[in-house]
């Protein structure tokens, strides 16, 4: 390198600039070579990861395979089409609160190794920081699952799991009560608890039928408003899952008039309309602190709402927001709360 005198700074800068690109190119070429090598390694080994999970290297206790050998392999018809499980899944990851509840209800709790951050029922589920709404493929893969259940295919979940050879069940938000039952059955089949699932569903049907019989199914004279959020006021029309549940009792939903095809059943209502529609029952799905804190007391104090029959007759019902937003085994509980309100209002 030629010596440069300090009095010639321009020359030195120029030389430095010329040197850097060469080194930069060399570094980039080396990096590219490494990446190519890794890609080659990766391509050849994908597809060999078995769905059995018996080669798990993690120390967490996983479920042991029962003696019912005839249950597997099984093909389940889920939201993402037909999914085949080759053998009993001993390491299940759940990425949806409803799916978690389904799993534990059918008796597959001991096979569950991880649930997402929003799953909180039943008590003691192995909650992690996994997200069902923005899943991280690698983070899920770390649990070496033999089955993944989620409520939506976001972030390329299905594609990513397929590349790793892990079966995924997508159990989306149920559009009807029958669909909710079907999901529980699917979960049971996929986890080797098909019989238990059948009995769970039967129990739910019985309980719900009992509530409907007691409170009555033809309350067309009663109108209700189901509040999902306030400011703006989002409601659920009778075409939604929730609307169908309440519809078991024959109530009329004030949001139906406002529901246009584009809302998908969840119109934004004007306050004036809600008040003048004079609903006799108001169901609050946003009354818990984390969901908006719209307690019955706060609702009753809203300016202009004091004239609504539901407010005057104390028929503003704060529901368990979690149960009201899920479609799992606790559905009868929701139906029970609704039934109670209906009975009270029809007195």
């Amino acid at each position: 390198m030629p010596t440069v005198s300090p009095s010639c700074p321009p020359f030195r800068e120029e030389e430095a600039l010329m040197g850097t690109p060469l080194r930069l190119v060399a570094a980039l070429a080396a990096a590219a070579a490494c990446v190519a090598a890794l890609a080659g390694c990766g391509a050849s080994s994908s597809g060999t990861t078995a769905a059995s999970g018996t080669t798990s290297a993690m120390a967490t206790p996983a479920g042991t395979a029962p003696a019912t050998g005839a249950a597997f392999p099984v093909t389940v018809k889920a939201g993402n089409g037909d999914v085949t499980l080759k053998s009993y899944p001993t390491r299940i990851v759940s990425l949806a609160p409803t799916a978690t509840e389904d799993l534990y209800a059918v008796g597959a709790g001991s096979q569950v190794v991880a649930v997402d951050q929003d799953s909180d029922y039943p008590d003691g589920v192995p909650k992690t920081s996994l997200s069902g709404l923005t899943p991280n493929i690698e983070a899920i893969a770390r649990y070496n699952p033999s089955l993944v259940i989620a409520s939506q295919d976001s972030g390329g979940l299905v594609a990513g799991m397929t590349k790793l050879g892990i079966p995924v069940l997508i159990e989306p938000a149920a559009a009807s009560i029958a669909a909710a039952y079907a999901q529980i059955l699917q979960v049971g089949q996929a986890t080797g608890h098909a019989d238990k699932a059948v009995s769970v569903v039967a129990g739910m049907e019985r309980q719900i039928a009992g509530y409907v019989k007691q409170a009555g199914a033809s309350h067309q004279d009663l109108t209700y408003y189901w509040e999902l959020s306030a400011n703006p006021f989002y409601s659920a029309a009778s075409s939604t899952f929730i609307g169908q549940v309440v519809g078991l009792f024959g109530l009329k939903n004030i949001a139906d008039e406002a529901d246009k095809a584009s809302d998908g059943g969840y119109p934004e209502l004007s306050q004036e309309y809600i008040v003048t529609a004079k609903p006799q029952i108001i169901f609050l799905a946003d009354n818990q602190a984390a969901d908006g804190g719209q307690t019955p007391a706060i609702v009753a104090n809203r300016p202009g709402w004091s004239g609504i029959p539901a407010v005057q007759n104390h028929e503003v019902v704060g529901l368990n927001d979690d149960i009201a937003s899920r479609w799992g085994p606790r559905l009868p509980q929701l139906v029970g709360e609704i039934a109670q309100a209906v009975e009270q209002a029809s007195k």
Partner: protein
């Protein structure tokens, strides 16, 4: 159009808008009964009988009227703040959300919704207000510090760039917070789209002091903004202190915008376009543009909100959608007119 005529016409526009809004709504109140109820409330000594039931009266006086009044306040404040910023920056493409005001409000509201869900309804306006003012403070401080080191044009450009930088940062922070809690996405986006659906007299009373102070301060500085229009150097030669004028107008505009945004969420388009409309009507002097923007902005938002709550009745449209859909074509139509658009 002379200043006096323009102001008179704008005031009339506002009154008509507010009256129209009072008679229209999803509740389908009988117009005559409504009129009687309004007159009776305004002039109780007349003892006018009204056929409005108590529920309907509650709808009119507790739900509809506060919404009309709040709409006027918010629209006026946003337009005024936009005009103030445009005067300070000598740039017609400046909005009331500049200098991190919108981004700061968005971040504040997001933090409140995500981390304070239950205190949410009460906390969100306060957080948005604080966030908005903080955003402007940070942007202004950054811009002022930077312009001491560099000289970009006349220092105003530096301030604008600082505002963009701070705004981008705050928006990025907001996005980060939001994606950590995807379940709050709908609530946050609803707020971002703007809404007057929970308007109440309580909200009106809450923002009234800030609205009054910022409005008075801004209206009193119209002449100063006009002097500022000839550039910092000439303005100084005329005896004005450009730096101090800028600080006062920015503060007042920030206060106006923050109060509006706190109760209504982010309603776009009003702050940038209404001052232009005012200019087209009465010329570029801020002694006219400021009061005119206040009146026209108020009337415009009242009408936009009326549309938002009646066009798909009984469902509602987010008001930000209406202001954009209605205002943008109207603005293009105005631009077609003769003459250049000045600052």
């Amino acid at each position: 159009m002379s200043r006096r005529t323009a102001l008179g016409a704008a005031a009339a526009f506002l009154v008509v808008a507010m009256l129209t809004a009072s008679f229209v709504g999803a509740a389908d109140l009988n117009p005559l009964a409504t009129a009687a109820a309004l007159v009776d409330r305004a002039a109780p000594f007349l003892h006018l009988p009204t056929s409005l039931g108590s529920l309907d009266q509650a709808v009119l006086f507790q739900i509809r009227l506060p919404r009309v009044v709040l709409g006027a306040l918010v629209g006026g404040l946003l337009a005024l703040a936009g005009a103030g910023y445009q005067g300070v920056f000598r740039n017609p493409l400046v909005d009331s959300g500049m200098l991190g005001a919108s981004a700061g409000a968005g971040l504040g509201a997001t933090l409140a919704i995500v981390y304070l869900g239950g205190a949410g309804p009460r906390a969100v306006p306060v957080a948005a207000f604080a966030g908005s003012l903080t955003g402007v403070l940070v942007a202004y401080a950054t811009g002022a510090a930077a312009s001491r080191r560099t000289v970009l044009g006349d220092g105003v450009a530096t301030l604008l760039l600082a505002g963009i930088a701070v705004g981008s940062f705050l928006t990025a922070a907001q996005t980060f917070v939001l994606q950590r809690s995807a379940s709050d996405v709908q609530a946050v986006y609803s707020w971002l789209l703007g809404s007057l659906s929970a308007a109440s007299w309580q909200q009106v009373i809450t923002i009234l002091p800030y609205a009054a102070v910022s409005t008075v301060v801004l209206l009193l500085h119209g002449r100063h903004l006009d002097v500022l229009a000839v550039g910092d150097e000439e303005a100084t030669a005329l005896g004005l202190r450009p730096g101090r004028t800028r600080a006062i107008v920015v503060t007042a505009s920030a206060l106006a915008a923050a109060s509006a945004v706190a109760v209504s969420g982010l309603i776009g388009f009003v702050g940038i376009v209404i001052p232009h409309v005012a200019r087209r009507i009465a010329g570029p002097a801020y002694t006219s543009v400021l009061p005119l923007s206040l009146l026209i902005g108020a009337g415009f938002l009242v009408l936009a909100d009326t549309l938002a709550r009646t066009v798909l009745s009984p469902a509602e449209l987010p008001i930000g959608v209406v202001t954009a859909f209605v205002g943008a074509p109207a603005f293009v139509w105005m631009l077609r007119g003769t003459g250049p658009v000045g600052t």
